[in-house]
Symmetry: C2
């Protein structure tokens, strides 16, 4: 399908696919249906990831409390090295760019730091928030 046949609004514009009129254009209709199905799968993946992240933060909070009880420092660079190496290895197993795995690790660490800041700002005792676990 050439660009002139489509409803393209420009390479740097935006196309609201949901509102596309594909009547009398079976190929376009087919593409829109495929995109819609893929988006449903993407939405399911996102739901699963959110649920897993919620569990992850419960675990890291518990680790943080245990470390505080034992008087351990929040950081554990041995553990951090282990996690970096493991995520690199696993990313190859699942066919994911290793840089994405490292960005994921940095994302969850950044999350914990952000939560730490918010707890502090709310005036509550931030305790030991575990960013390495």
């Amino acid at each position: 399908m050439s660009k002139s046949e489509s409803l393209d609004k420009g390479d740097w514009g935006s196309t609201d696919i949901q509102s596309q009129d594909s009547q009398n254009n079976p190929e376009l209709e087919n593409i829109i249906q495929q995109i819609s199905q893929l988006r449903d799968s993407i939405d399911n993946v996102d739901m699963a990831v959110l649920a897993l992240l919620a569990e992850r933060f419960k675990y890291t909070t518990r680790v943080g409390l245990l470390k505080a009880r034992a008087g351990f420092a929040p950081a554990d660079y041995h553990r951090e090295d282990y996690q970096i190496q493991r995520l690199q290895r696993l990313s190859k197993d699942v066919g994911l760019d290793p840089e994405i795995a490292e960005m994921y690790r940095e994302f969850v660490v950044a999350e914990a730091k952000k939560r730490h800041k918010r707890i502090k700002e709310s005036g509550e005792d931030p305790g030991v928030l575990d960013i390495f676990s």
Copy 2:
């Protein structure tokens, strides 16, 4: 357990928990065991998330290719708004900070942009890389 009884190396230092000697200190030994079990669960969560991210990027790549075929713009702000609202709602359902849900969304978008840049640098046709989907 007071700080002086522990093997704390300072609030801003690092404690290598794996190498802690907890002999003759049952409470410390118990804490180290609990942390070890929680870390196993955190590692399992990370493995599941990586696998889901690998699937997600397969889906978004397919959406990008379909959009290119139809001549649709990469961006779809209607879809983006829908995703933002949905993730906010779901984060409340699973007990996750809504800010974390939004950071996750920004993370996966940043990922796609990063991949786009790398494909471009490698000299291959980046095509339409879908960062919204």
